[in-house]
Every structure is written in structure tokens, then in C-alpha cells.
């Protein structure tokens, strides 16, 4: 009986621990676990986009960063107000600032163009030498020119004192336009050893994202950004609900900060989406006491791109 029970125990132990060990092998550590959190922890990057676009965006984003509630952001090197943000990045080396790689100039009365010489990136510019206002479908964009321009943007940023913690893409252009363009971005990211914003939830719509990635590439779990269909008076409701229903894992909130001032209203006056009032609403929510309380109440931890990049592989 003892012998049998001894054998039984060994068999039982083999079954239990062996299975657990197999499970551990087949389920690699999540990003949360690599960062030292529980597997079901709710981790958030509160990420402001479009820094460098206007002074209003810069001023509001800096104020957001300095509130501690907005904890990451990315900067547009081709934009007129980039030097102001480069100066901020240089004097605030701990700030979690990446580059918002930019291939379009989507406003009508205020515009910018490529960092690379325009005759080297003809598919990216319109007849007046600005980045195109929008891309027709399918976009006649040369991925080689994209890569040249991305490198020019990173080189300008680094020469002006920015040490980017990550790369992402203005208007998601690099992620939504086929394997070739995404692979250009990825090649650049690998060369500069920078993580690039890719979300697991995008794989279903764009399978080439997953198949293009290497083992060492970071992938965040979820992203949340407000929809143009949300009515202004429902703004806080949208974010409140998103925070209360957050899934485990790393979620990037993509937000757009600016003040609803004369400069921003004029720069965006041809349409309200991502306009001055929109950005003021984002600023108001993400610097509010309510947002701070929700983070605490929902047991949400803020993490940065820098932490993600330094997590064990």
C-alpha cells in the first residue's frame, strides 16, 4: 500500500508538475509578467500623439506629461514646431518620448513637408512640395522612399538631441498599407534598436503585421482611441467606460492633446475631427482628478515605452 501509494504519488506528481511545466513552456511570459506584474495586471500607456505639430499641441502635451497622468508621447520631426519639442526632449531626458513618424500633412491652411529632399521622395509629396493631404486607395507610395524619409526623420531628431524611446506612425499609415511599407518601418526600427507600436488586436485585419515581426519585437496587447462618432458631451463617458472595462495586459491609450485656442482652431478649421475642441476635451479628461481616481480605483498601473523596451525578452 505504501509502495503503491508511493508510486501513485510519483505518477500523480509527474502528471501535475509535468503538465504545469509543459503549460509554462507553451504559454510564454506575457509583457505584463516580463515587467514583473501578474499575468492579469492591467497596464496602461497614456500616449499623446502629434507633438511638434503646433505650439498649442506642444504646450498642452507638456502640461499633460508634467501632470504625471500622461506618461508617454511621440514627436513629429517634419513639423514646424518640432524644434520646440526637441529642446524639451533634450532638457527632459527622462520623459518617455518617441517619434511619431509622419508621411502626410493632413490639414489645409497649415502644412509641412518631408525631411528628406523632396526630389528623393516624389511619391510622398504633392505638386506644391508638401506631404500629401491624404493617400488615394491603393496608395501609390514607394516603400523605398518611405524608408528614406523615416531615416531622415530619425536622423534629424537625434541630431537635435532627441533620444527616442519608441516609434509609431502618424495616422497609422505605416501599419495599414501593406507588408512592404510595414517592413520598411520595421527595418528602420531594428537598425535603430527601437520598439515600434504594434498591437496584437490588429493582426486579424492585417496578418502581414504578425508574419513580418521577429521574435524580439515587442507587441502590445490592446489600444484604445476615441472614435469620431462620440459626441462631445459623451467624451468622459467613453474613457470612463474604457477604463472600467479594461482587459488584462498592456493597453495603449492614443490621445491627442492641444488647447482650444486661436492657433489650433485655425490650424484645424476645415474639419472638427482631431480639431482644437477635440484635443481640449482629451486634455481635460486625461489631466483630471477623475482620471487619476479611476486609475487607482481600477488598479491600473502606468508603464512607459522605455520600460517595455528594457523588459527581459
Amino acid at each position: 500500500m505504501h509502495k503503491f501509494s508511493g508510486l501513485f504519488f510519483r505518477v500523480f506528481a509527474f502528471l501535475v508538475f509535468g503538465a504545469a511545466s509543459l503549460a509554462a513552456q507553451s504559454t510564454p511570459k506575457s509583457l505584463a509578467e516580463k515587467l514583473g506584474y501578474a499575468r492579469d495586471a492591467k497596464l496602461v500607456i497614456v500616449h499623446a500623439d502629434d507633438l511638434g505639430m503646433t505650439h498649442s499641441v506642444n504646450a498642452a502635451s507638456i502640461k499633460g506629461l508634467e501632470s504625471g497622468l500622461v506618461n508617454s508621447a511621440s514627436i513629429m520631426a517634419p513639423c514646424p514646431w518640432f524644434p520646440e519639442m526637441a529642446d524639451y526632449a533634450k532638457t527632459h531626458p527622462d520623459a518617455d518620448l518617441g517619434l511619431h513618424l509622419t508621411l502626410t500633412s493632413e490639414r489645409v491652411f497649415y502644412r509641412w513637408g518631408p525631411v528628406a529632399p523632396k526630389d528623393k521622395v516624389p511619391s510622398l509629396v504633392d505638386s506644391n512640395g508638401y506631404f500629401q493631404l491624404s493617400w488615394t486607395e491603393p496608395p501609390h507610395i514607394d516603400a523605398k522612399e518611405v524608408e528614406l524619409e523615416l531615416r531622415a526623420q530619425i536622423e534629424r531628431a537625434m541630431a537635435m538631441g532627441v533620444r527616442p524611446t519608441h516609434l509609431d506612425s502618424h495616422q497609422y499609415r505605416l501599419f495599414q498599407n501593406g507588408a512592404e511599407m510595414f517592413q520598411s518601418a520595421l527595418r528602420v526600427a531594428h537598425d535603430y534598436k527601437l520598439p515600434v507600436f504594434v498591437v496584437r488586436d490588429w493582426f486579424a485585419d492585417h496578418p502581414y503585421l504578425e508574419t513580418s515581426l521577429s521574435a524580439g519585437d515587442l507587441v502590445v496587447d490592446h489600444t484604445i482611441t476615441i472614435d469620431p462618432g462620440v459626441r462631445p458631451e459623451k467624451w468622459a463617458d467613453f474613457y470612463r467606460s474604457a477604463l472600467k472595462n479594461l482587459q488584462p495586459g498592456v493597453t495603449v491609450f492614443i490621445i491627442h492633446l492641444a488647447f482650444d485656442d486661436e492657433e489650433m482652431r485655425s490650424a484645424t478649421r476645415e474639419r472638427d475631427t482631431w480639431g482644437a475642441a477635440w484635443r481640449q476635451r482629451d486634455f481635460d479628461f486625461f489631466t483630471s482628478a477623475e482620471f487619476r481616481a479611476l486609475l487607482r480605483e481600477q488598479n491600473i498601473h502606468l508603464v512607459t515605452w522605455r520600460e517595455l523596451a528594457h523588459a527581459p525578452k
Copy 2:
């Protein structure tokens, strides 16, 4: 006696009318006379510079133009807010708008670069691809690159609906840096059949201006612009005195309008000269009831570049 007096009269008449006719031959019509005014008329162009630089400059300059007291202005095609002014020019074809040809980007936190591909104008750009902040002396600027860039600026402006009435030069760069650069500008002006801002009073310091001009080129008589040494509280005094002591002929007042707002203060924060408060002071004086009264009181007539260009040669 009669005979003698008859002879005397003929001799007298010959002396008087002949001399007058010789005088008329040796003193060509002044610009004022060509415009139909008396030779000693006091004619003024109230000219706002730097349109397109920021939204604040645009908004204040448009308000100045619409007051009727600022009656001419020029636009910077390389600047981020150029599209806003191009749109205004297109929808206000009677406005006297020229091009403020630009070869520098003189601010620190807000910058712009050439319209031509940067690899075609290497002497004009710094290592980050912006126009140079300032030019060292002697400037190592290639006049062929200058000409290429000037043509690119005019082509962009015309493609975007501007029909310039004249050309001038941001920070006077084209007039103060030698014959070769001035002749580049003049060649471009001739090709586009546009008058270029040249002042007779500059000939003493820069003789190549006079020797480079052709018979058909317009030359205005005087120009007045406020000096950085004038204290803010003496601003109106300076202009008051200038208007009360105006010389006969065509005088161009070069003024710089903007509002002393957040955008303009940030764009110019590294130094006060031509800064936000400076430009607000210019705006306040040149849209004031006092300025309007001074024009009337001093019998000063406003003329435009368009009128000058259409005056009989």
C-alpha cells in the same frame, strides 16, 4: 523799339521755355508724377512683412489690410502658414500682396526650410535641413542656389493662387549681400515681370544696386522701419515723427504685424526684436485713429505696389 522788343521777347521766350524744356528733359518724371501726383506729393505704401510666418502674423495682417490703413503686404512661401495666406490672396484678388522672398529661418523653436529640394540648395540649409538661422560674414551662399530657390517660391505661390504684385526680401538678404545675389533676384523679377523693392536711399551704401538696375525697373524714394533701439513707450512717437517729417516722393513703411499671443510669444521667445510685443505695437499704431488722422493732416496719400507697377514708364 518794337522790333527790338519783339526780338527781346523772342530771345526771352527762347530762354524761358527752352530752359524749361531742357529742365524737363534732364529731370525725368518722378514716380509721384507718373502716378499723377505733384512732384512734391508725399506718397506712402504701408507695407506689412512676414505674412505666412505664423497664424498670429496672418490674422493681424489681414485685420490691418481690412482696416484700409495697411495697404500692402508680402507673403513668405516657405513658411508653414503660407497656405492660409495663399487662400486669402486667392479670395481677395484686389489685395496688394507680394512675395517676401525668404532665405533664412531666424527663430529657434519654430522653423522652416526651402521650397526647392534641400539637396539642390545646400548652401542655404543647415545640417538639420532648415534655412540657416543667420548668415556668417561673408556669407558662403551660392547665388545660383538662391535663384533656384526664389523661382521655387514664386512657382509654389502662383500654383496656389497668389498673383504677386511685387517682390521683396526677408531680412533684406537679397539687397545687402553683393551684386551677384541681387542680380539673381533681379533676373527672377524680370522673368516674372514683377517690381522688386529697391530704395534710392540704399544706393550710397550698395552701389551695385543702382548699376544692376535696368531703365524699366522701379525705384522707390525712401523707406522707414522702426529701429530696435526705440523703447516700447516711444513707439508711437517714432512713427508720429516720421510721418510729420516725411520727404516728398514714395516712402515705403516696412512694418511687422502680429498679435502678442501665446503662439507668437512662443515662436519668438529667444529675443524681443521683431517679437510678439513688438508686432502688437506696430499693429496698434497702424490701425489707430491717430494714424488715420496723421495721414489726412499731413496730406499723405497711400499708394500700392500694383499702382506703381502700372504707372507709365
